[in-house]
């Protein structure tokens, strides 16, 4: 899985590509933790390139959510595929992660 991060004002945009499972969950957590500076308030996940996710991937997302939430920040997601949205829905993750229709919408509302 590829994890590409870039900072835009106080938001960290995270582009994910590939399969998000037991094999890649730790890599995601480490990459994001390394990027979580004091300037970052919110995380925005671009899920367009995610081909697969299971509970290991969801657990890793929940882990970074806890960190950003402790700072009073939020997590938003864009470009979610129907398969990934279903997994988010079944797991209850949609209760803590808001889905936005575009990059502009997430920047306006998060």
């Amino acid at each position: 899985m590829e994890v590409n991060c870039r900072q835009l004002t106080n938001n960290l945009f995270i582009e994910l590509e590939g399969e998000f499972d037991l094999h890649t969950a730790d890599y995601f957590s480490t990459e994001i933790s390394n990027q979580l500076t004091t300037e970052i308030d919110n995380l925005i996940l671009d899920l367009d390139g995610i081909e697969f996710i299971d509970s290991s991937g969801l657990g890793a997302i929940l882990g970074v959510y806890k960190k950003i939430n402790q700072k009073g920040g939020n997590i938003g997601a864009i470009n979610i595929t129907p398969q990934v949205e279903r997994i988010f829905e079944v797991s209850g993750l949609l209760k803590i992660i808001d889905i936005y229709s575009s990059k502009q919408e997430v920047l306006d509302k998060i």
Partner: protein, 142 residues
């Protein structure tokens, strides 16, 4: 038509994807929709990940995946020879987790497969049997 395949993998996280793709390819012999194939992939991923994390923990053992098509249904058996589960009832609760995987592994399997049975013996290992029937076949029966 009856058909079967067995795959034995080392309990390494790099092999989870292989187990998933093998099962998805085998399952495509039945009339599963793409959404159902995705559900099978999630169930396999959860079952194999459980074996890697819980059965063998820091050691490397063997995980056996048996796939069988018979009577229009797909049967999947994931077997390990790891430490076993002490309390199966507790392990099946969706809030139960020993790692940071949200305790959802078995909940996903239960949601996405038509049948699921878990047998385990401490010090001997665990066997998870799952069955899925294509929705199209169920509609024809009904």
């Amino acid at each position: 038509m009856e058909n079967q395949v067995e795959l034995i993998i080392d309990s390494r996280s790099s092999n989870v994807g292989l187990a998933r793709v093998t099962a998805a390819s085998f399952a495509s012999q039945l009339n599963f929709t793409l959404a159902e194939i995705e559900e099978i992939k999630v169930a396999i991923s959860e079952a194999v990940s459980n074996a890697i994390i819980h059965a063998y923990q820091d050691q490397v053992g063997k995980v056996k995946m048996k796939l069988r098509i018979y009577e229009g249904q797909l049967e999947i058996i994931i077997k390990d020879e790891g430490q076993g589960i002490e309390d199966i009832e507790q392990a099946c609760q969706s809030s139960y987790t020993t790692t940071d995987r949200m305790g959802l592994g078995l909940a996903f399997i239960e949601s996405f497969m038509d049948k699921f049975e878990l047998k385990s013996k401490l010090g001997v290992g665990t066997e998870l049997r799952m069955v899925k029937v294509p929705a199209q076949e169920k509609q024809q029966v009904n």
